[in-house]
Amino acid sequence: MNRLSDGGRVDRSAPLRFTFDGVQYTGLRGDTLASALLANDVLHTAPSLYRGRPRGIATAGVEEPNALVQIEGPGAEPMRLATTVELYEGLSATSLRGRGRLDPALDEGVYDKMHVHTEVLIVGGGPAGLAAALAAARSGARVVLVDDQPELGGSLLAGREEIDGRPALDWVADVRAELTAQADTRILTRSTATGYYDHNYLLVAEDRTGRPGPVRQTLWHIRARRVVLATGSHERPMVFAGNDLPGVMSAAAVRAYLNRYAVLPGRRCVLLTTNDHAYAVALDLVSAGAQVAALVDTRPRPPAELVDSARRAGIEVIAGSAVVAARGGARVQAVRIAALDAADTISGPVREVACDLLAVSGGWSPAVQLWSQSQGSLRYDEALAAFVPDEAAQNVDSVGASRGVLDLAGCLDDGFAAGARAAALAGFPVAVPPTPPTSGDGRPARPRPVWVVPGESGEPSDWSEHFVDLQRDATVADVQRAIRAGMRSVEHIKRYTTIGTAHDQGKASGVSATGVIARLLGARSPGEVGTTTFRGPYVPLTFALLAGRERGALFDPVRTTAIHPWHVRHGAVFENVGQWKRPRYYPRPGESMEAAVLRECGAAREGVGVMDATTLGKIDVIGPDAGEFLNRVYTNAFAKLAVNSARYGVMCRADGMVFDDGVTLRLAQDHYVMTTTTGNAAGVLDWLEEWLQTEWPELRVRFTSVTEQWATVAVVGPRSREVLTALAPELDVSNDAFPFMTARQILLANGVSARICRISFSGELAFEINVASWYGLATWESVIRAGEHLGITPYGTETMHVLRAEKGYPIVGQDTDGTVTPHDLGMEWVVSRHKDFIGKRSFARADTARTDRRQLVGLLPVDPAVLLPEGAQLVADAEVAVPTKALGHVTSSYRSAALGRTFALALVAGGRERLGETVYAPLADGGMIAATITDTVLYDPKGTRRDG
């Protein structure tokens, strides 16, 4: 066991059992899976993806390249990092070779979303973020503080710093207490800000595993007036031979394992550093009882105080040198150390030192991911050897280590100032709190980055064990190869080598990669090479979290009419039309769709049928200029329509193509009610508003959507009049008193007020009864009762389609497709010559005026029993030599009870000139159907039936 006997943030009274790669272990509450594994002396992860090299836990955080695991349960999930999985009782995980496995078992997790607004959002709960939160919260502004760890404190959790003469974590606890007491401050821990989007919109993923309630993760959508990024920094690895061996670990991780998790990850340690950080780690190692065999500093003259303190602890400091190779089999056994000259070449003998842990600090990369996502620019700071935030693009500041401030006092100063500033800019002025005294040595000395530690022999192109991206197994040799191939841009090299594209997205290694490239290109500085683009999410997000609760039953609204319960009770088969569920047909037990539809059609043609037509869009168009307005949007004229009369209209877009159609009724001089197709109701309302508001604001007319105000019951067939009479005894339904295309307002026998129109979409005598939707179901039921003795038959969309097709009425969206003019539909009669309307000018264009455009025609299969498939293509010749240009295609095709045969509608080039000609439909199965082109109106061409 590597667990230290005391210290750390783990709860020794709360042992947790877990399984890793099939073996049972015990860890403690407060552990991550990685720290628990290390405590159990498990360093190894799965071998590397491409080269099968042994790998071990290398970091203690989100930047981890190796320790990918599959959570087998509870809560199975592929591709998690052992370094970020909080240990829980019963956790079972297996190590992964860089590639996850999806579990076909249904995901039962619940994922939620929240939308909140705040004046100040602070990302990061380290000293800088806490200081910012404290300052901002004191202003009374709303403050949200998010941190990805279970505990606040950031890097203080891993250190031994003091603030105000007390352990820093006591200060953290005080700050937390004060923040918690503020009504308008919200602290979200285990919450990672993953994306920073336009207009200060950030996404925060909260992990609620192990929290009360059924929710596994919550995605917070936060709109902030000001943002303070206090995201800290990532320690960089270094690039030398064998740097991927298990036992090579970031120094910061070693410190975190020691101080936060009370785990000693090695017994005999060497440190390699380019900066001050490793010295504190070395001392911590010694006080934890480890042996520190050497501290290798790339700087020829490291700060004397640091060197002295190390030597006092018995540590050998080897300055101006680097580890040029790590050796070992399954784990590092020794490192080879050599002096480097100013040009980073080996300038002395190589010395080997045995060790089982190499702690590496290659310098610090400020966590600028979110800053960059916000479109803020970066600059390369030579003194810090790091990319730091430059110009902000949004209302944001970056503070603390995330902008290169590396000392604790500096971080606190920075945080307090930024928190107060953010609150003030959001309208809540507040004083900057004074910074308490801190331990530590102030600003660290200048680092000496060594981007590529040379191999002991060979050229960069040979250095295929100098790893740049561990997860992608990409090395200096790979980078060199990309450059030799002609690549110069960091973006190309990324794509050629795949560096930075793995699960860790190069969090720790990205800047190292830039350094390597700069070095190999002979660039003056990494600043010349730049970084690749930072993109969200900052950490990988489960698909399910992004989907949230809009899955399964909540995926998309199901819109139903007031009459829907009846349809369900009576066995309707439904069709999705937009978001609506519409009955398609009502099969009797054992009845096929074909039989049901023939039966329903028969009833409507011979007796009486009834259909729920509620889903049609309805818009009240009211005002003195309503008629004029309609004249401009419909191709035909409405201004002179008589009150209580109805007219069919077609709307085109400005390009002249049919866009919607429907019947509009005039209820009063200044009041029309328009119907639209089911799928287009919202689109048409938008269209009307657009033209009114942006083109014709002088017209005095207003629109109100009343689609759901009304339930519409269509009673159709020669015997519909009898049903109406029973339903509305006071209504004179005779043809003279109530002619076709007129409307009446009346009280039904049951007392319900109704608007009844004589409209027909079937060619038969028909009435549409509109009642307030509250009464829809009752009215439908009374229609059914009134028609019972007549065998009244409910019918669905399929029958409706057959009936209208027999009459040659097109359906917009089925017989048209956005490339069809009213003329193509044979509807010249609906196109006014006398007035202008939207789209009119387009009819005069060369192509729109062609006579060989595809036109709507009827088709009668030569064999009357054969049904043409909808979507069949038509050719002139039975002999088809592919490729052939089609004449057109079948848009609608049905069996007709009335015609006793099959028939179809089709769009055919120059179709109206071809009446009587035979065309052929070659089918996918090799068959061929011949059909004769006819007029579109196949049933009752004289229109004798509409009056009953």
Partner: protein, 202 residues
């Protein structure tokens, strides 16, 4: 319509989520944190739109209602037993008790006089869901991107917005808080399902 046949008529009515009454009640009682959801069906609703030229009508309507129509965006006023919600620069929704639409419409029509304007009875177009309780705001925040903090949105505020995938008119009626959500009939079931699900997750 006469008073005698009202009960018979009302027996014929069915609200879009009338069948959920018990379910809503159960959830309201069972929620981990107290949030109550119920339907308030059959409220009278009138959509009124004026033209910018119509300020005289605006004044006449004010005296007819006893309150001017609210002109501050996103606010509602109470006028007797009516609630008048601002929907747009020239559009209002007048909400009254069940059955009051015809009388209110007559009143408004008279006030409009000859001036152009549009008045439409939309009582059956939307139904009303009432969500109340200390955690009601949190339920809404699961799917509504408006700033509902008391500093931005409180009693007397209203908005046309989206909740989940559904367009709603949101009206906060008291500070508990109690919200009313007016939703088109065809979407009511989905919205109720969505809210119930959200309530379970508090």
């Amino acid at each position: 319509m006469t008073a005698e046949n009202l009960p018979t008529l009302h027996a014929l009515r069915r609200s879009p989520i009338g069948h959920l009454t018990d379910v809503l009640a159960e959830h309201s009682a069972a929620g981990r944190r107290s949030v109550r959801l119920r339907e308030v069906p059959f409220l009278a609703q009138l959509d009124l739109q004026l033209h910018q030229h119509g300020s005289a009508a605006f004044d006449r309507i004010a005296s007819a209602l006893g309150e001017p129509l609210p002109t501050t965006p996103n606010t509602a006023v109470e006028a007797g037993d009516l609630r008048v919600l601002w929907l747009g620069p020239q559009e209002w929704l007048l909400i009254g008790p069940d059955g009051s639409a015809p009388a209110t419409a007559d009143l408004l029509r008279a006030a409009l006089g000859d001036e152009p304007g549009s008045l439409v009875d939309v009582s059956a177009n939307r139904t009303t869901l009432e969500l109340a309780g200390p955690a009601a705001r949190q339920v809404l925040e699961k799917g509504c991107a408006l700033d509902l903090h008391p500093r931005s949105f409180g009693p007397g505020r209203c908005a046309q917005t989206l909740l989940s995938k559904v367009g709603v008119i949101l009206h906060q009626v008291d500070a508990e808080p109690t919200y009313r959500l007016l939703v088109r009939g065809s979407f009511a079931q989905y919205l109720a399902d969505w809210l119930l699900d959200a309530m379970v997750l508090l």
